[in-house]
C-alpha cells in the first residue's frame, strides 16, 4: 500500500522517498557536525578567543610567554613576553627567525631601542627604568602561513621558551 503510494507520488511529482530519507539523514548529521564546530569555536579551539584559546609557558628565569594556541591566517593575534624584574636595565629579547618569517609583525609594544640579526634569530633590545621592573612586551602579529607554526623566545642568555600555534586558513 505504502509502496504503491510512493510509486504514485513518484510518477506524478518526481517524489523520491528513499532519496529524501537519505537527504534528511544527511541534514541531521550535518547539524550535529555544525553544532560541534560551533561548540569548538566557543571553546576557543578554532582561534579567535575562548577559554582554551591561549596558553603560556614559563622559562627557568621566571620570564614567560603567553600566546594563542590556535590562530587564523591574516588575522591579528598577540604574543606577550613577560620579563621578570631581574637586575639588568636592558632586556635583550631573542626571537626565532623562522617564526618572524612566518608572521607579519604589525606592532611591538614597547618599541625596541635597537634590533640586530643573529644566527637564526633576531635580537631586540628594550630599555627599562631603574630599578628594573617586570615588563610585558607585546607583539601584535598576523600569521602568513597555515598549519603548525613553531617558534621560540629567549631573554638574554637564558634557555629558549618554545611555543607553537596551529593556524587555520
Amino acid at each position: 500500500m505504502r509502496k504503491q503510494a510512493n510509486e504514485q507520488r513518484s510518477k506524478l511529482f518526481g517524489d523520491d522517498a528513499s532519496f529524501q530519507q537519505n537527504q534528511f539523514r544527511a541534514e541531521r548529521i550535518s547539524w550535529v557536525v555544525m553544532t560541534i564546530v560551533i561548540v569548538s569555536a566557543l571553546a576557543g579551539l578554532l582561534g579567535g578567543g575562548g577559554p582554551f584559546a591561549r596558553d603560556s609557558k614559563t622559562g627557568i628565569d621566571s620570564s614567560s610567554v603567553s600566546y594563542d594556541r590556535f590562530a587564523r591566517h591574516s588575522s591579528p593575534m598577540t604574543l606577550d613576553v613577560n620579563v621578570g624584574s631581574g637586575s639588568e636595565r636592558q632586556v635583550r629579547l631573542r626571537l626565532s627567525d623562522e617564526y618572524l618569517t612566518a608572521m607579519n609583525v604589525k606592532s611591538i609594544t614597547p618599541a625596541p631601542t635597537s634590533t640586530a640579526l643573529g644566527d637564526k634569530q633576531q635580537i631586540l633590545v628594550f630599555d627599562r627604568s631603574a630599578p628594573p621592573v617586570a615588563v610585558t612586551i607585546r607583539f601584535q602579529v598576523e600569521p602568513m602561513v597555515f598549519g603548525l607554526q613553531r617558534g621560540w623566545v629567549a631573554i638574554d642568555n637564558a634557555a629558549p621558551i618554545s611555543f607553537a600555534h596551529f593556524i587555520y586558513p
Partner: protein
C-alpha cells in the same frame, strides 16, 4: 568564540529589527527595498567579520547563522507563542469584498496592493469578487476568490 558571538548578536539584532519593521517591510522587494537590503548587508558585514578576513572566520559565521536559523525553526515548532512572536500571524484584510480599513492601514497595505495580488493570482478585477484577502506572515497577500468570481 568571538566569531560565534558576533554572528549571534547580529542575527538576533537583525531578527528584532526586521520583526518590528512589520510584515510588509521587505516583502515586495521594490527598488528601494533592494537598495535597503544591500545597505543592511554592507552595514552588518563589518560587524560580523571584524578584522578577521580568514576563510575559517567566514565559514564559522555562516555556520553559526545557519544553525541559529535551524535551531529557532525547531524551537518554533514546539512553542506556538514563540512562533507567533518571531514569525507574526496572518491578517485578514478583505472579508466578503469588504475592505478592513483599520487593519490595512496599520499593516501599511492599500487596496491597490490587494488588487495587484488578486490580478496576479486569480485574474480578479474588483474587490467584490474577493472572499478573503489575507496578509500572510511572509508579507505576501493571498487571495481567496468568491465562488463564481463574476458575482
Amino acid at each position: 568564540m568571538e566569531s560565534v558571538l558576533r554572528a549571534a548578536v547580529i542575527y538576533i539584532g537583525l531578527l528584532v529589527i526586521m520583526r518590528f519593521a512589520g510584515k510588509r517591510s521587505l516583502a515586495q522587494i521594490t527598488t528601494f527595498d533592494f537598495v535597503l537590503l544591500l545597505i543592511i548587508g554592507e552595514a552588518s558585514q563589518q560587524a560580523l567579520l571584524g578584522q578577521d578576513f580568514s576563510v575559517t572566520n567566514a565559514l564559522l559565521v555562516v555556520i553559526t547563522l545557519v544553525m541559529l536559523d535551524i535551531g529557532l525553526s525547531l524551537v518554533k515548532r514546539r512553542s506556538k507563542t514563540l512562533d507567533k512572536l518571531l514569525e507574526d500571524v496572518p491578517l485578514v484584510i478583505v472579508e466578503d469584498g469588504m475592505v478592513l480599513k483599520e487593519r490595512m492601514a496599520k499593516a501599511r497595505v492599500d487596496e491597490q496592493d490587494v488588487l495587484t495580488a488578486a490580478r496576479h493570482l486569480h485574474g480578479i478585477e474588483r474587490l467584490d469578487q474577493i472572499r478573503y484577502a489575507v496578509l500572510e506572515r511572509s508579507g505576501g497577500i493571498s487571495i481567496i476568490p468568491k465562488q463564481g468570481k463574476g458575482a
